[in-house]
Symmetry: C2
Subunit: 145 residues, 2 copies
DNA sequence: GTATACATGATAATGAGTATCGACATCGCA
DNA sequence: TGCGATGTCGATACTCATTATCATGTATAC
């Protein structure tokens, strides 16, 4: 959002943190804390769920992962993003595939609207949801749920 | 979003529904289900919390109220909006005051991005958060000329 | 008025996320 | 290498919003 973090203090390197980072590096779609926890277990890492939450929250703070809280459910989903600058996402509500999108138009529009209404320190949250090409094709010829 | 609801079936008119609708008509800011429930109690209406949730969810479905799920907490907040057409909100994160805003630019941008990425049936969620004029002034401790 | 499908509400259940706190691991330093 | 201060972990209890249950109440059609 507002990329001016005060260079968060260093963290100790632990077996758990390393494993979580590794998973986040490989997984490409947004995943919930519990899903990530499950992947870790499958790989033989016996890591507590609380630790997963702690680390994800931590990685979020320092901008290492993006978090999505909208999108229907109440569950937050995380993913490591290519661009660390402010950006938005276009997420397939079917398979979870996510594309990072930039929206200069959004930024300036938000700023202008805010100014016009007399608001200051304006931030915005926005995500796009849709059905990706692959899923659209897969859907064809099949009855709707 | 996607204004093609199949004309939701009629609902029975009950004392509870009437009371909830009345409250939603008067309250101007976004309020949580519990807050609305509290207001109902204050007014002498002994209505179950579950019923409040049910009705709000219902009113949301038929577009009678808008719901905000982003904005920090995990609690959903509701409010009856002037315009029933698709729109967004600029919410004061200090006092909760909300302004309805329209964003034709956003709509076209979203559509274009979606097409470019091969996505279909795209919707979007977006809200603006800031500090309203009144709160900004109060923060400074002195009003602005 | 009667029947019946729908609405309500007290309460239990669910489920995400957080707080606790004793045990454990890391890292700077001797 | 050994030590200790301090950061981190993890089992589990907890909070709290929202949902499911299901017996009871009631709006509506006939
Ligand atoms: Zn991203
Ligand atoms: Zn897809
Ligand atoms: Zn304000
Ligand atoms: Zn829009």
């Amino acid at each position: 959002m507002t990329g001016r973090e005060p260079e968060a203090s260093e963290r100790r390197s632990t077996r758990q943190r390393t494993a979580i980072t590794a998973v986040m590096t490989e997984v490409v779609d947004f995943r919930s804390a519990r899903q990530i926890h499950a992947v870790l277990r499958e790989r033989g890492h016996e890591i507590g769920l609380a630790t997963v939450y702690r680390n994800l929250h931590d990685m979020e703070q320092r901008g290492e992962v993006d978090v999505l809280r909208a999108g229907g459910g109440d569950t937050a989903v995380y993913r490591r993003c290519e661009r660390h600058e402010h950006h938005h996402h276009l997420v397939c509500r079917r398979c979870g595939r996510a594309v990072e999108v930039e929206g200069p138009v959004i930024e300036s529009w938000a700023a202008r609207v805010a100014r016009d209404e007399g608001f200051s320190e304006v931030t915005h949250a926005m995500e796009l949801f849709g059905t990706c090409g692959a899923c659209t094709r897969a859907e064809r010829g099949r009855p709707r749920p």
